[in-house]
Amino acid sequence: MSVQVNSMNRGAVRSDLLMTGFDDAVQDAQKVFRKVLKAMSEPGTILTADLTDKTPGALNKSSWEIALTLFDADTKIWLSPTLAGDDAVVSNLRFHCQCPMVSEPAEADFALALADELPELKALNWGNSEYPDQATTLIVQVEAITNQTQDNDEGWCLNGPGIETERGLTVAGLPYSFRRDLVNSRKRFPLGVDCVFCADDQLVALPRSTEIKPSDSEEGIRNTIQQEAN
């Protein structure tokens, strides 16, 4: 973990790693915001954010564009180890967003993570009952997102505000324990973590208000929950 801590504390921006942000900071941020707003108000709807050509280091397009749109000096950011150790990521976030980095996920307004480096859900801030909005927003870079739920054992059936009847969603590559904890976290609404999953230039959101039912994998998740309980 020493790599992570070092880069977190490194104040300097490496100018040789900097790249341009949006072509048009005002218009592009507005466009990306509307995508995120649509995603968050219609959970499970997959949208495309494709306004940048290149991204710093390991960031994918949609997570980079969300960062440019929502991060600034007022938002504390936690990065998962690989991202925190990636000078290109850290330098560009510092330069373009001026956002402070924190080493504890619980302190973060936004946590930005690779799918295989997710913090435990309970390690993030879930808000409190009087101010549930103070919770962390979790942005996860994943392999793929699709509304297909057949032929895989990771499919979800979504219900709740923003969904007219029901919507299927598969987020590929999330650890089992995270999927299980996310499903269980719904019991604590209005506390919880709002998630945005980013795959290349695609994004999909799962706010805490969305009920998640594992579809095909129902048995599997139930068994896991059972095992954990025992």
């Binding site: 466009k31 749109t69 101010y131 505000p161 209005p190």
Partner: protein, 330 residues
């Protein structure tokens, strides 16, 4: 860093279509980001009031900065904006706000509900059903439904946290005891997604049922108290009531004197010194649309037995003809 790279990276926020010296839609980018973040939380916790910071938007008094800030934060070049005040597009406020965003954001504006992507409103929900590709932005004076029961914010926060809404039920029931029915006719409280009690802003309770399962996203902005709350599309919104006194909307014996509508919210208009009055649709665009479709006070069922659908088709054809005529004129 090379000066070339430096200037490239420090590309200033461009003034794409805005007026000279202003940021796009007048609001600075930092305030927009702050409001955007609050808006996403509001959407994630339907009906819950999210506080937001940011600077005051320097606007003439009476414009209602909450709705303006939300519109300025959401709006983009591709949008078409409609603004209504008490249902009308042609009041001083509505016209001023439309002009303001036409000037500072260069967006198209419209009076037609069907043509708008963003609708900023004070005190009404359009009669025409809104679509999923539209956003309705409410101007809110007092965001806290429990405020008149409990003035302290710390206490109302606790009441929401514990879902302690009995005091509101008592208040409404006092109405029943005094008047024999629930007298509250504006600002009528609702429960959102069975969790948060929400103030729908001073719309008539006639409009409350339109909020339930609405396909459009509904955003609420209170400028003075700096609160944002939201109802995502297709969300359950239920007006408070009692088993023995169910929720009821206002109704009129009269119909609209212009379009003959017997199902819209009517304004009473005094005609002369003798006190003669007539009733007309509060939603001026809805009334206009009906008149164009052939509905009149004398013929509230539409032209010569044609169904509204027929009239709609006729209207579409006429619209296309008009467009063609305009193109040819150009």
């Amino acid at each position: 860093m090379s000066s070339q790279l430096s200037s490239q990276l420090n590309k200033p926020a461009t003034q794409t279509a805005g007026a000279e010296g202003y940021n796009f839609a007048y609001l600075d980018e930092q305030s927009k980001r702050m409001i955007r973040r609050a808006m996403l939380k509001a959407v994630a916790i339907p009906g819950y009031q999210v506080p937001f910071g940011g600077r005051e938007m320097p606007l003439p008094h009476g414009w209602g900065t909450g709705g303006m800030q939300l519109t300025a934060t959401v709006i983009g070049e591709a949008d078409t904006l409609k603004v209504i005040d008490q249902g009308a597009d042609d009041t001083t406020n509505a016209v001023s706000i439309r002009r303001f965003f036409a000037k500072t954001a260069g967006v198209a504006t419209t009076e037609h509900t069907a043509d708008a992507s963003l609708i900023q409103t004070r005190h009404r929900i359009p009669e025409r059903q809104l679509r999923n590709d539209q956003i309705l932005i409410y101007q809110v004076p007092i965001p806290e439904p429990l405020r008149f029961i409990e003035p302290r914010e710390t206490e109302t926060r606790k009441m929401h946290a514990l879902r302690e809404y009995g005091a509101m039920q008592v208040k409404l029931y006092e109405d029943v005891a005094r008047f024999g029915h629930i007298a509250t006719s504006y600002d009528y409280p609702v429960m959102v997604n069975d969790r948060y009690m929400m103030d729908p802003s001073p719309i008539p309770k006639f409009d409350n049922p339109k909020m339930n399962q609405m396909p459009a996203l509904q955003l609420f902005g209170a400028g003075f108290e700096k609160r944002i709350y939201a109802v995502p599309p297709y969300t359950r919104v239920v007006s408070l009531d009692f088993d023995d006194y169910p929720f009821e909307v206002q109704s009129w014996e009269e119909s609209c004197s212009i379009c003959g509508s017997d199902h819209s919210f009517l304004d009473e208009v005094i005609m002369d010194d003798a006190g003669n009055k007539m009733f007309v649709c509060s939603d001026t665009d809805y009334c206009r649309e009906r008149v164009e479709q052939g509905f009149t006070a004398e013929n509230p069922e539409g032209q010569q037995g044609l169904t509204p659908e027929h009239n709609q088709v006729q209207q579409e054809n006429k619209k296309q003809d008009d467009t063609k005529a305009e193109e040819m004129a150009l």
